[in-house]
């Protein structure tokens, strides 16, 4: 963040001086009242001291507003680019008679059907009910590669403002005008619909209570001071009050909230409410779909096991041969594995014909010239093809692979010498790189990971073990997912999950944090409280981190703000009473030059620290996954102990400068 970006937000910071706006933050409202009072005092009894204090009190309020304005400014830029996508388009609606008519996009209602052809903009949110098309969603996701949207299944949702690149689709509109996804997105990034979150309210209550205590402490100080024959001016008492009340956190609180949402937007996740972001920090169970999240999603060849009497090279080459023309992911992975194990990179020999997989043969392979036939397939089919029972050695390998959750693929050949089984390819789900480490990290943070899969329990257990998840749900139906979520919530745990299908919708709604994939159905997007524009299920882990970071930032700045007060007392109290009680000189441990410079320095520090912390409030406190005790120790040291020490140094430095001003020093 640069100085110029701060200055550019100055006008909106000044607009926020409206008391009706500041009322939302009671702490800053008190500062506003104080500023007005000191202004009146300074006008009535002008002095350098009074004016300096007045100006800095006003600056305190402005700096607080500035923090909020800067935080909002970042969202506004994004909203503007989204608005550009919301051009008014004409829609081709199919009326009851089945005839196309041209209407404005804003007149579409739920249930209307519209036709969209290549080159046209989607007029509103809806589900494809006919056809398939390539859609450019870059206006929303920022991703330029087109995506396929088709009728039926989990890829049927289209979003208003996106562009159809090919073909023709019929879309059934699912949202009313003004309530489209794009509209909601704009409102969200602008912070227009921002409400205080539960934790923010709880913190505000604490801050208000502290403010009231300080208000009383300062208000009763007046008669006490009079009694001690050391009467204090209202100006000094207001300065003391503003320094004591938690202005730092009071000024930055809303900026922290807005910036937290903004950080999510930056990773292309839209949270429908701040509450959801907070809940993400509290999540203690993550339900992760196996496919696409934990594993690459396709079974891949992991090793070749040659049969007795067959060399490893023979097996490898035969397996490669059988798969060269096979375009399935499994086939490609066999070729890749063979290459990795040293096979040559030659093409299929001339005259070879590819034998495709069919439901009847349950095998695929290749027929070479010269009568050599190579096949790969399920054990029983291959055994039938070879014409005799499986060797015990090969059968043992098949059983072992099945038991470990993998899929055995048997390779066999027939040539002049007859038919024989060459060996077995071990196909298995491959866990994505780095996932095991991330799960370990999550475990240290106290989060349980649960793998959801349609696989049988045996396969599921094996992958769960390899990936290092804490639990798994095999042969999972939507009902099972719901039951699992309810079980976890019953025990007081907060659950987060991702989903894209319509059948995920109930579970997404039940989960505390439900992240719907943007590629998914509108039902899923309705049900979740976050939408991931990149449709990347692994992002759930980042979301949890952002939620935690938001809460940590709030806590750290609160601690810092309160810890600051110690130094301010040591600056102001001796300054107030030094003349009457020379003995209090012992409290002036900073050796501030004069009473007026001490008070001025404290007030200036109090204002400047807000500006100094704006970048931190926006960026968030650094968060590395670790156990709660470790994180706490670190943050207490930085923001608690640091919060006590920093103002002593800061106030002293400011005093050195301020004390040179005539009339103060």
């Amino acid at each position: 963040m640069t100085l110029s970006s701060l200055l550019s937000q100055l006008p909106s910071a000044l607009r926020k001086l409206d008391p009706r706006h500041l009322w939302r933050s009671p702490v800053m409202f008190i500062v506003l009242i104080g500023s007005v009072m000191t202004t009146i005092i300074a006008i009535a009894n002008p002095s350098t001291f009074a004016w300096v204090v007045t100006v800095w009190l006003w600056l305190t309020v402005v700096f607080g507003n500035l923090a909020e304005a800067v935080a909002e400014g970042r969202g506004k830029a994004q909203a503007a680019s989204l608005r550009a996508a919301r051009t008014d388009v004409m829609a081709r609606r199919i009326n009851a008679a089945g005839v196309e008519e041209s209407v404005a996009g804003t007149e579409l209602r739920k249930g209307d059907r519209v036709v969209i052809e290549a080159g046209e903009t989607v007029p509103g949110d809806g589900d494809v009910v006919e056809g398939v098309a390539a859609v450019d969603e870059s206006a929303i996701t920022g991703e330029s590669a087109p995506v396929i949207r088709e009728a039926g299944g989990d890829r049927s949702a289209v979003t208003g403002g996106t562009k159809v690149l090919s073909d023709r689709i019929v879309v059934q509109i699912t949202s009313a005008p003004g309530e489209t996804f794009l509209d909601r997105m704009i409102a969200l990034v602008e912070g227009a619909s921002r409400r205080k979150t539960p934790n923010e309210i709880a913190l505000s209550i604490l801050l208000v209570a502290l403010t009231l205590v300080f208000l009383l402490a300062v208000a009763t100080l007046r008669p006490m001071a009079n009694y001690a024959h050391a009467p204090q001016s209202t100006l000094v008492l207001i300065a003391l009050l503003v320094c004591l009340i938690p202005t730092t956190i009071g000024a930055l609180l809303s900026a922290i909230g807005i910036a937290g949402m903004d950080r999510l937007v930056r990773v292309n996740v839209l949270a429908m409410s701040g509450r959801a972001v907070e809940a993400a920090g509290d999540v203690s169970t993550l339900l992760l779909d196996k496919t696409g999240t934990i594993t690459y999603g396709n079974r891949q060849a992991s090793r070749f096991v040659a049969a007795e009497g067959v060399t490893a090279e023979q097996m490898r080459d035969a397996a490669r041969l059988s798969s060269l023309a096979d375009q399935t992911p499994e086939g490609r992975s066999i070729v890749e594995l063979a290459l990795a194990e040293g096979a040559d990179d030659s093409d299929l020999p001339n005259g070879a014909t590819f034998v495709e997989f069919t439901a009847q043969t349950r095998m695929s392979g290749v027929d070479l010239t010269g009568g050599r036939l190579v096949r790969k397939g399920a054990g029983s089919s291959v055994a039938a093809w070879v014409g005799r029972g499986m060797d015990p050695g090969v059968q043992a390998t098949i059983d072992e692979i099945s038991k470990s959750g993998g899929t055995p693929l048997v390779v066999a050949e027939t040539d002049a010498k007859g038919s024989r089984v060459l060996g077995v390819v071990h196909l298995k789900d491959v866990v994505k790189e780095g996932m095991t480490e991330r799960f370990a990290e999550l475990r240290r943070m106290g989060i349980r990971t649960v793998m959801i899969t349609g696989d049988n329990p045996l396969t599921a257990a094996s992958i769960a073990k390899e990936a290092g998840v804490d639990d798994f749900l095999a042969e999972a139906t939507p009902e099972d997912k719901m039951a699992y979520i309810h079980k976890e919530q019953e025990g007081g745990r907060l659950v987060a999950m991702t989903g894209d299908g319509t059948n995920d919708a109930p579970a997404l709604a039940a989960a505390d944090v439900g992240v719907a994939m943007n590629s998914g159905t509108s039902a899923a997007k309705e049900a979740g409280n976050m939408v991931d524009l990149d449709s990347d299920p692994t992002k759930l882990i980042d979301i949890v981190g952002i939620g935690k970071q938001l809460l940590i930032t709030r806590g750290a700045l609160t601690t810092f703000s309160i810890a600051n007060d110690v130094a301010k007392y040591f600056a102001i109290i001796p300054a107030m009473f030094l003349l009457t009680f020379p003995s209090l000189k012992g409290l002036n441990i900073m050796h501030l030059s004069t009473p007026t410079s001490a008070i001025t320095s404290a007030v200036i520090f109090n204002a400047l620290i807000i500006v100094a912390l704006i970048p931190l409030a926006l960026r968030g406190v650094a968060y590395r996954p670790a156990s709660a005790a470790t994180v706490l120790r670190r943050n207490i040291l930085i923001y608690g102990v640091g919060g006590v020490i920093a103002p002593f140094v800061g106030i002293k430095l400011i005093d050195l400068i301020v004390s040179t001003i005539p009339g103060i020093g």
Binding site: L203, A225, E278, R444, G555, L587
Partner: protein, 552 residues
């Protein structure tokens, strides 16, 4: 034996005794409040009260019971005091003036035992034993009941019920306070504390006669300390030889006033199923107590002024039989708990010593605090700590499996606000009106400290005083009564509200991401938060009073 040796021996004996007793006694108290069985005598009482002892109360109903019971107690005690002339054993004394009666009734029902009268010359035995002593028991039992209700709030899940106040009150009195104070009274009698029903007229050496006031002292003395009440039979309180005559009786009294607050940490640990949680709380309490004791002892036993050096010790206002060490210990213990009994004149403590016992009360009396009040007070501060620290680990703050949300925070914030507000407003009022006769008329920092002490003591339900100011004016009688009343029952109502809202919640399981609240780190944070909140609230008042005195 030198003063120092005696003091160190007393401290050592006290630590050994408390260490030995707090586990079994704490577990016993946990059993008392969780057992389903009623004693026969208890059943009889429930029948008389018309209470269904097996029913449970919601937070609201529990609160209404506490407040209703206390209100009736105040009225009854007020009538006894005003009309003591009509009672037997009145020693021929008239009824108390109405404002003093009101002050005293509130004082004893709120477990404060602030005494704006001199016991031996104002009260008959019926008023002492029948009025004050009964409240010594009941007000202590109320405190324990509220603490137990809060602990139940942490223990229970999705219930909202906090137990039955009447059962807690009766059990606390019959199973805990009565038997212990009975044994203690006998021990005290063995140390020369008197127990009789008459004043004695003696012929003095010079030929004249003197009336030595007597009375049922030991029975009052034991519950006075055990229930952290502190209202002495005599004006001299525990410095009077008939109340506290030997170093051993002094040790017994110290033990009595610490035993329940200390053991309740064990009760907490046992009831919530985390003994370590009890130790963490006890650790925080012990640290604050130890620090206060060290400062007071340093200030009182050290020879920091020329006068003290010449005299061989700062003995003004202290009993020679106790000396500086045992007096410092007693002063720390009586202000760290909400007792307010004294064995030396706090007004005569050095500025540093007096300031420290004042701070001890300002901390909210949580080191280790009054019976019940100490544990619920520190638990509320633990919630504040957990709220700030919990955010810093990136979760909605939770303690003992309960989340601290908006509702809980409201109760806690109001709690932290209430007592300081009462103290500050009270001091402000007294000072603002100081020119008016009958308000404040003592000069200088020390006069100011006396007023600060009076309101701090009243609002925290301590009851000890920097005497020296005249508190018998209407203003002080009534304003201090108000401070005691509000300082007792606003926090209680808020604590019960908090307990109810905690009990309604389910339990959040503990994970590696949960902020541990049973560790030394948390205990030190807790101490830090308590010191910071207190310091920030009272720094100006302290600067103008004890600090200005101490630094001069």
């Amino acid at each position: 034996m030198s003063d120092t040796t005696g003091g160190l021996l007393t401290i050592a004996a006290l630590i050994i005794l408390l260490a030995a007793v707090h586990k079994p006694f704490g577990d016993y108290m946990a059993h008392v409040f969780t057992s389903a069985k009623h004693w026969r005598v208890e059943k009889r009482i429930y029948r008389v009260l018309g209470v269904n002892a097996d029913s449970e109360q919601s937070a609201r109903s529990y609160t209404v019971s506490v407040l209703g019971f206390s209100l009736i107690s105040i009225v009854v005690l007020f009538l006894i005091l005003v009309g003591q002339k009509a009672l037997p054993f009145d020693r021929g004394l008239p009824g108390m003036p109405w404002d003093m009666s009101l002050n005293t009734a509130v004082s004893f029902v709120t477990n404060t035992n602030w005494q704006s009268y001199s016991g031996e010359s104002t009260l008959g035995f019926a008023a002492q034993a029948g009025g004050l002593v009964i409240q010594n028991f009941l007000s202590a039992a109320v405190g324990i009941a509220v603490a137990i209700a809060l602990v139940r709030g942490f223990v229970r899940s999705r219930s909202g019920e906090l137990g039955n106040f009447w059962v807690d009150l009766v059990r606390g009195t019959i199973r805990i306070l009565l038997p212990l104070s009975f044994v203690a009274a006998i021990l005290l009698v063995s140390q020369g504390v008197i127990q009789n029903f008459g004043d004695h007229t003696v012929h003095a050496l010079t030929g004249g006669t003197q009336v030595i006031p007597g009375g049922p002292v030991a029975s009052q003395e034991s519950i006075k300390e055990l229930g952290t009440n502190g209202g002495g039979f005599f004006n001299g309180n525990s410095s009077h030889p008939f109340e506290n005559g030997t170093p051993f009786s002094n040790l017994i009294e110290l033990f009595l006033l610490l035993v329940i607050p200390v053991s309740l940490t064990r009760t907490l640990g046992t009831m919530v199923g985390s003994r370590k949680q009890g130790y963490a709380i006890l650790g925080a309490m012990t640290f604050m107590f130890g620090a206060a004791l060290a400062v007071v002892t340093w200030a009182e036993a050290g020879m920091h002024s020329q006068a003290a050096q010449l005299a061989g010790g700062s003995m003004e206002g202290k009993e020679t039989q106790f000396g500086s060490w045992a007096s410092s210990l007693f002063a720390t213990a009586t202000t760290g708990t909400s007792t307010g009994a004294i064995n030396s004149a706090h007004d005569s403590l050095s500025p540093t010593g007096g300031g420290t016992v004042l701070v001890n009360m300002m901390l909210g009396e949580v080191a280790p605090g009054g019976v019940g009040a100490g544990i619920y007070g520190i638990l509320v501060m633990a919630v504040v700590t957990v709220f700030i620290a919990g955010l810093m680990v990136g979760r909605t703050p939770e303690i003992l499996g309960k989340k601290i949300g908006t509702k809980e925070m409201t109760y806690v914030a109001l709690y932290t606000l209430s007592v300081p507000a009462i103290i500050l407003v009270g001091i402000g009022l007294a000072i603002a009106l100081h020119g008016t006769p009958g308000y404040m008329n003592n000069p200088g920092s020390h006069g100011f400290s006396e007023v600060v002490y009076a309101f701090t003591s009243a609002a925290n339900n301590n009851g000890s005083a920097f005497a020296g100011i005249t508190v018998t004016s209407h203003f002080f009688q009534i304003s201090l009564a108000a401070a005691m009343l509000l300082g007792r029952f606003i926090p209680i109502a808020l604590v019960l509200g908090l307990a109810g809202s905690l009990a309604k919640q389910g339990k959040v399981p503990v994970t590696a991401g949960t902020l541990p609240t049973h560790t030394p780190l948390f205990a030190s944070l807790l101490v830090g938060v308590i010191l910071l909140v207190t310091g920030l609230t009272f720094f100006p008042a302290l600067a103008l009073g004890p600090l200005a005195e101490a630094l001069s």
